[in-house]
């Protein structure tokens, strides 16, 4: 019995190691891996393996994050889980100093924050020209266009053929939208 338990533990440890290899290293043009790829590599208990990995990553301030193709999934089906994209993200947050060292100017961060907050207030969709108008109140016009293209290229924002912007996969993966909106609305109010 004890031998069988040890065998199962070893197999699980191997699967967690495999999950690290799959999730940490770049495999595709877009970051992250699909649920069905993880199932293929880790077996039918792939979700339990991810739970174990998530617990092991906790002390290192990292977490296993999941993003569905459809934005508002609450109780996912098996197909939605298989199609979801899985990532490793920072569990906590970064400060301005660290953000600068990873290549983000304060203007770029603020521009992205405004674009994301504006889109959230518009239910996730708005014409590009409206977002540019808001950004131009505090950033020079040439920089606004450049930044918008950068946010699109990095996967934070998307733009359809008719110039309508939406929140893309990366915003859903990396940004705690509720917290951002709460912080913006609470600005200047003294905590009670």
């Amino acid at each position: 019995m004890a031998k069988r338990v040890r065998g199962a533990e070893k197999a699980y440890a191997r699967k967690v190691k495999d999950a690290v290899h799959i999730l940490f290293f770049k495999h595709h043009k877009l970051p992250g891996v699909r649920g069905w790829e993880l199932r293929q590599e880790l077996g039918s208990d792939w979700q339990n393996v991810l739970d174990v990995l998530d617990k092991q990553l906790q002390p290192m301030d990292l977490k296993v994050n999941r993003v569905f193709d459809e934005p508002d999934v609450i109780d996912p089906t098996r197909t939605q889980l298989a199609d979801a994209r899985y990532y490793i993200t920072l569990r906590g947050t970064v400060d301005q100093k660290t953000a600068k060292t990873i290549g983000w100017r304060i203007d770029d961060i603020a521009g992205l924050a405004v674009s994301v907050a504006f889109l959230i207030s518009k239910q996730g969709k708005a014409p590009r020209i409206d977002i540019e108008r808001v950004l131009q109140e505090k950033l020079p016009g040439w920089r606004v266009k450049l930044n918008m293209d950068k946010y699109i290229q990095q996967g934070y924002l998307g733009e359809d053929d008719e110039g309508v912007m939406y929140l893309n996969w990366r915003s859903r993966a990396e940004i705690d939208q509720k917290k951002l909106v709460d912080l913006v609305v609470a600005f200047g109010k003294t905590p009670t």
Binding site: G32, G92, S121, Q123, K125, K178
Partner: protein, 259 residues
């Protein structure tokens, strides 16, 4: 007049889709009365299409109104005016700070492993140098000659067995698998280990059906296609043949294989 009014309705609904106006800026009751008013006067197919499009766009507006209510009742909802006022009050540093407190950037590493290095070295070793690769082909003018059927087959220009032999062998395989007169789900039948083999089996299946060795039935509601084995090939009744365009999507094959 009717046409231009319906076009206006469609454009108005499209503005909701693109986020230019809010979903509840549209008075559903008023718009539906416009569509209803024109419906009895429709005579041409084009007008029917326009009417159908107007209904479709209006139903999308209803969907957006529904999403809007769901969004407003969610914890994410904040009054857009209040939000934009807050954003305007904040300086760039404060906005950046708020963002950084809610940002969890993702991690991904690029790494060359010893295994990739070894296989890359193998590839480099096998790569023919440019001066060898780009040499002019040695082409000489030759007179046309004759080849026997066996020689053409040996060169791969002619299949070794006739096409009907291939079809009959495929029919036999179907019979062995499902029994005389039996049936099988389309993907279960054509699916193979490689995508190329799957496409080939789909190609042969189309001929199997066209030549009366099997029948195909598609339930469009359930999106299910079944292949039925014919115990005896059905004779050509002289009726015109129907082409069966069958899509063998790579993604679908991959999903099927992973199931």
């Amino acid at each position: 007049m009717a046409q231009s009014e319906l076009e206006s309705v469609i454009n108005l609904c499209k503005m909701v889709q693109s986020g230019k106006i809010e979903p509840f800026d549209i008075d559903f009751d008023y718009v539906i009365t416009i569509i209803r008013r024109h419906y009895p006067n429709i005579k041409f197919v084009e007008d029917f299409c326009l009417d159908a499009q107007a209904i479709k766009e209006l139903s999308s507006v209803l969907e957006r109104q529904n999403q809007w209510i769901a969004h407003q009742s969610s914890t994410l909802y904040k009054d857009p005016f209040m939000l934009s006022q807050s954003l305007m009050r904040m300086d760039i540093g404060a906005i950046a700070d708020a963002f950084l407190k809610s940002w969890h950037p993702l991690l991904e590493l690029e790494q060359i492993s010893a295994k990739t290095l070894a296989s890359s070295l193998g590839y480099w070793g096998g790569l023919i140098p440019f001066d060898e690769r780009w040499t002019e082909p040695d082409v000489a003018v030759r007179d046309t000659e004759y080849a026997s059927r066996a020689e053409a087959s040996a060169l791969g220009y002619l299949p070794e067995e006739g096409f009907m032999d291939v079809i009959e062998a495929f029919w036999k395989e179907l019979g062995d698998r499902v029994g005389p007169g039996g049936s099988i789900e389309y993907w279960e039948w054509i699916g193979a280990d490689t995508y190329e083999d799957t496409v080939y089996r789909s190609f042969l299946t189309v001929f199997l059906v066209s030549y009366g060795y099997a029948n195909m039935n598609t339930d469009r509601l359930l999106e299910e296609t079944m292949i039925f084995h014919n115990s005896e090939p059905q004779q050509d009744t002289g009726r015109s043949k129907v082409s069966l365009p069958m899509m063998v999507d790579y993604e679908e094959w991959r999903l099927w294989r992973n199931e």
